[in-house]
């Protein structure tokens, strides 16, 4: 699971309002360099939840100051920034561990890089009806 994916995942169980951002408890993280795609990063940057991404950076054990506190239009023209963001979004792989819902404490295991977001039948919001 890349941090780009983490940025869009949430806990969708019954009774949870936001279920976001999920905390990362990483037991195995791999860094794998990939070709820099500035256009992709520029396009994706404005759609990101920035506080969630900064929290994720910290939780996978990367330096907190790897990303600035906020994104600005000026930064999107800054190659050093785009490279750092590319690295964070694309090159960090959480291979094993868990995602934990900040509201309910519900844990979603990650194994072989695949988060298991399945919820039990009794946890489904539509069971309320």
């Amino acid at each position: 699971m890349r941090l780009l994916t983490h940025n869009v995942l949430r806990c969708a169980i019954k009774g949870v309002e936001e279920g976001y951002p999920l905390s990362i408890e990483a037991s195995e993280v791999q860094m794998e360099e990939s070709p820099f795609r500035p256009d992709f990063v520029k396009h994706i940057a404005p759609t990101l939840n920035w506080p969630a991404l900064r929290q994720a950076v910290k939780q996978v054990g990367l330096p907190e100051d790897m990303l600035p506190e906020a994104v600005s239009d000026a930064l999107l023209g800054d190659e050093a920034f785009l490279r750092a963001l590319h690295r964070v979004l694309m090159d960090v792989h959480v291979v094993a561990g868990a995602l934990v819902c900040p509201e309910s404490g519900r844990r979603f295991p990650i194994a072989h890089g695949i988060p298991d977001m399945m919820i039990a039948e009794g946890e489904c919001p539509r069971d309320d009806k």
Partner: protein, 219 residues
């Protein structure tokens, strides 16, 4: 379009996830027929396949986009753990250069809010076979086909999600059979603001398969 290499699987593996079949091939052909549209007009940066099974479609679409010098996040979510693992394995075995991200989950439940209005290409070859309703909702190989009443139980849950996920230029490809009442699906989607057309149709054994293609209706 050619099927990606699946030589990393043995026939035994197909006891645990769906082996590509006529429905898979028809969807591949529909995507390939839309190659120019996908590469030049849609130019996706986020693609999502629901129910990737073996991962054949996700890998084929990633390969198509890479051939056209595109670059997109390729997300894939399957309810079946074996299918999720298989999808990652197929991408790796075919040296896919685009980032393929696999999640185990029920439709887009865990992704719908985070990806709202951001999915440029959405693909689903759903469990479409009419079955008794109690056969729907397993996490094993039966999830590949068991569609419940008229084969519509899983399809009907995905339609509102698709409408929420699609970006303004987004496109949604959905495999259906005649028993699913394609015209009715199109009218449900129309109510959700999406216009549909039949991209292609093929008779295979006892099934009349079609690919429905939806885009955001112009306002």
């Amino acid at each position: 379009m050619a099927l990606p290499s699946l030589e990393h699987f043995s026939y035994k593996d197909y006891d645990t996830f769906y082996e590509p079949s006529d429905d898979t091939y028809l969807l591949l052909d529909a995507l390939d027929a839309d190659r120019r549209f996908l590469a030049d007009t849609v130019q996706p940066s986020v693609c999502l396949e629901i129910g990737p099974g073996s991962g054949a479609i996700t890998t084929a679409l990633a390969t198509l986009l890479a051939e056209e010098r595109g670059f997109s996040l390729m997300l894939a979510v399957d309810i079946n753990a074996s299918a999720a693992t298989a999808t990652a394995a197929t991408a790796a075995a075919n040296s896919v250069t685009l980032p393929v991200e696999v999640v185990q989950g029920d439709l887009a439940n865990a992704l719908e809010r985070g990806l709202s209005g951001r999915v440029d290409v959405l693909v689903f070859n759903p469990p479409y076979v009419p079955t008794p309703p109690e056969e729907v909702g397993t996490q094993d190989i039966a999830a590949a086909w068991a569609g419940g009443r008229r084969g519509r139980e899983v399809i009907d849950r995905v339609l509102p999600q698709a409408a929420a996920l699609l970006s303004n230029k987004g496109v949604f490809y959905l495999v259906v059979v005649q028993e699913n009442r394609p015209q009715e699906i199109m009218s449900v989607m129309k109510g959700l603001g999406l216009s549909g057309q039949t991209a292609c149709t093929r008779r295979a054994k006892n099934e009349l398969l079609s690919i429905l293609k939806f885009t955001k209706a112009p306002p």
